[in-house]
Assembly symmetry: C2
Homo-oligomer: 152 residues x 2
């Protein structure tokens, strides 16, 4: 874990971001939660244990800073809040409208290769592929006899 923290520190320095304690912890949290796609609130609540003086504003500022420097990727698939993704490799996202889970989708669209492409003359800097529906797990419980389901 100490080695990991050193990697995080290097990442910040490479992007010209001063590696303060708050920033290190926030980026570390994101790097350890690749599948969560955490919200600002999730980052804040969790880190409050480590940093009791942490301010929500700091989390917002820091994450916006990371976004600008392209250290993290913002996922707005829910439409209500930004989810943060430490994995900036090209990939898409799926939102289950039943359980709310956000799942990584690895598929290649021809247009997305290189990520810095041109479409219809427009320069593309970011590609967001959002798929919405019912996830595999939730699909299994649909249309079956409801034995002990809490919701209708």
């Amino acid at each position: 874990m100490i080695t990991n923290m050193e990697k995080i520190k290097t990442l910040l320095k490479e992007k010209g971001i001063k590696p303060t304690f708050q920033r290190l912890k926030i980026l570390e949290y994101l790097s350890n939660n690749l599948n969560n796609h955490p919200t600002v609130e999730m980052v804040y609540e969790k880190l409050l244990n480590d940093i009791p003086t942490l301010s929500l504003t700091t989390v917002y500022n820091t994450l916006n800073n990371f976004l600008e420097k392209r250290l993290v990727f913002g996922v707005t698939i829910t439409g209500t809040e930004v989810r943060y993704d430490f994995n900036t490799d090209y990939h898409h996202h799926f939102l289950c409208k039943k359980c709310g889970q956000i799942i990584d989708i690895d598929l290649k669209c021809a247009y997305a290769e290189g990520e810095k492409s041109i479409i219809s003359g427009h320069r593309i800097d970011e590609i967001h592929g959002y798929f919405k529906g019912i996830c595999k797990a939730c699909s299994k419980n649909v249309g079956k006899k409801p034995k002990s389901r809490s919701s209708s």
Copy 2:
């Protein structure tokens, strides 16, 4: 235009939505503004001329109703508000981060055919392809000697 209004009315009835005056006008507005991708506020402000008693809540209710019945498509590319698209044919969107314009992108990803597909076992109901960058028009003015630019 009267013929168009009749088409709008039929559309609503087909979806089981009672074609009230407000609903007709809202859907008509969207059908006449395919390239705008209007916000709730835009719909409201514009229709206030025709319907001075119109309530913002009604616009929200109506558009949510249309969304549920899949009469319109919600575009959340800006991350700050929902834009409404009367064109529910499969297509993607591009957001220019300079001028804020939202432009339709017509390209086919193999995975999107049929729109009701399965990816990694998840049932896909909606596909949103969001591309962000600098549009063709804005690209031309970047890197050139700034002659009379208002912003820095």
